[in-house]
Symmetry: none
Subunit: 207 residues, 4 copies
DNA sequence: GATGAATGAGTTTTCATTCAT
DNA sequence: GATGAATGAAAACTCATTCAT
């Protein structure tokens, strides 16, 4: 939050950087990291390759920056969604809704993001994603705190540790949303966020 | 199941193929498809590149064969685990146990497998994974049938469609197991499969 | 003929291109298309392979460009030779002289050119030479028109169709010149172009 | 002419050799020397590659043998055609007829042959064709002797040296026949061998 | 003697990166 | 400070040749 006083120079720089990242994003999510060349990105962004290298140390750095930026956007949106409600249940409902919207509006990035944070963490050079994973962890802890508070306030039964519940909800969302993204026609995504939440909320067996 | 009488020649062939796949697996899961060269694989497998190409039409074919073979192994093991029990709950418990074992014994493949079936479907040539996805779908339907039968027999409350429950359980397992695999020390994986199942079984809120 | 105002850049480009083609020509005519590698050409031309590919899409394109360029040069020179004289006989004499000069000054290209337009049309990818053949045809028609006009003006007896006479003269020239080029010491090429022309002009038998 | 007493063993060998050459011929003339692999030849000939190498030192040797064999066949046929007639003019007529037949029946080989003896002598390794060229020379001298005798016997006017006349006739035949072979529909080859001979026999200008 | 599996040098082509202008 | 021409390492893949069976 320190982007206060940027000289015209700096603002211009930032804008150029954004244009480069935008071009890269489009190409990467369309063709995958290894099938996109720096020249392609430069051309799409309407800069010279040399200029690209003024902004990013190398291709990997560009990719990393891109993913990090997007991840931040997503986590910010999701964190906001959680913070916007007071009630724990409403927070979770907001979160599922926000996640659905994020997925729908960013299908291609999401794929890229999953290639990175999902199992395919090796897809580019190993270790590339340390920073990303940390932010993801951080977000999971935010989500966990909702469960924690809910449990403390007796609104939730403690069927598992808060962090585990956060992992559970997040993975359920990802699974259902990816399912939907892959075949939006066959399995229309339920408008109702409760389809996902109910799996957590209601028990499969009587207790 | 027609691998009855293999000539010495054929057995030798098969062994070589396995060695090649093993070398490829190790390298792919360590560095990712695009960061491994055919020469590297050949060297690790202690064959000449030319020999590699006698067994696999090209790099993609080698990769596909590798993934398909492993995926089959996994799905077979999981299907067996489900079939071995009679009771629906026991079936699910068996499934979680088997999945934990499969993950633990095949960390590196699992990563590769996720790169394939997970979001990064574009990572190699699009469509490469059609077959794999179909087998996955098929397995999910098998898992769904357990929920269906459980619901019919009133052992489970119908908190969601059987297929959705299958997706849910599978994704919960994946999430928890990957979490564990990534940092086995910090978050030791619970011996008890019920940690995962409880999230499905017990409701978060009273109903 | 629009090569008027070439920027320094463009002139430089053209010079580089010529150097590449010159290196390629030397190697191709010495060892044949298939026995020359792009690396060899690049090295001889003192460029990096990558630079070669900036100028020519691929090896075939480089080869094609080379042949086309040379063929054009030759046909232009020969057409000019024909046009420079008024009298039909003088035109033919000029043509033979010009052809002798062209052959003498371009032995190596000539070999390459023959591999292309001669029988070995399959030597590179089939159809590669369509354009070249067409230009050759066109030139033959120009030569034929000399015979046609000569016959019309009763300077020549019509011992065959004009086009056939053109083919005949051309093949006689090629045969004699190649003979000479292959063993210039044994069979010194006659200074007098009439040695070839006489075979056409004079009859072997009285008529 | 020393193939008198061949043991069964030797005859068998010879037959195998012929089969290999036949397979190679078909492939070479269809696709060109460099686009045919030894495996392809072996497969077509229904032998193992190793066996191919028992008969020919290497690919080049196989090719050379093939061309030499075919060249011999052709030159023998043409020499026979010349010897069969008594009269010089009839000898030449016979020669043209025979050459036409040889071309028509062996289009593909002819192409291969021309790639070798024509300008493209470099097409395989340089110098490959020394032997072939000598046989060609020898044949030209045979043809020259016809002109020589014709001149001596006053049947022909001496419009050029006999050897030159041989070169001339041969090149005329080649040119017209190749023309025909390339587009047999457009330019049907004249049944009458005199179309070619007349160019030599009759003078273009009155003398 | 025949076989064909195994070899690995060699080929074309791409592309991340540098640096003179 | 931006440019994009030039670079050359590295990749996928082929195929002539050998040699153990």
């Amino acid at each position: 939050m320190k982007h206060k006083k940027l000289s015209r120079r700096e603002r211009e720089k930032l804008r150029q950087r954004q244009e480069m990242l935008a071009a890269a994003l489009e190409l990467f999510s369309e063709k995958g990291y290894h099938n996109v060349s720096m020249h392609e990105i430069a051309e799409k962004a309407e800069f010279a390759v040399g200029t690209l290298y003024k902004f990013f140390r190398n291709k990997e750095d560009l990719y990393k920056s891109l993913i990090a930026e997007q991840a931040d956007r997503f986590h910010e949106a999701l964190t906001r969604a959680i913070e916007e409600a007071d009630d724990e249940i409403e927070k979770l409902r907001n979160y599922v809704k926000a996640k659905r919207e994020v997925f729908a509006a960013n299908i291609s990035v999401i794929r890229l993001y999953f290639a990175e944070t999902g199992g395919a963490s090796f897809s580019v050079k190993a270790g590339l994603d340390k920073e990303i994973r940390e932010r993801y962890e951080q977000f999971l802890r935010t989500l966990a705190s909702v469960f924690e508070s809910g449990i403390k306030r007796k609104r939730f039964r403690k069927i598992a540790e808060p962090y585990q519940l956060a992992v559970a909800l997040d993975s359920l969302c990802n699974a259902f949303l990816l399912l939907w993204l892959e075949a939006p026609d066959d399995r229309p995504f339920p408008e109702d966020p409760d389809v996902i939440l109910n799996i957590l909320f209601k028990g499969l067996v009587d207790t």
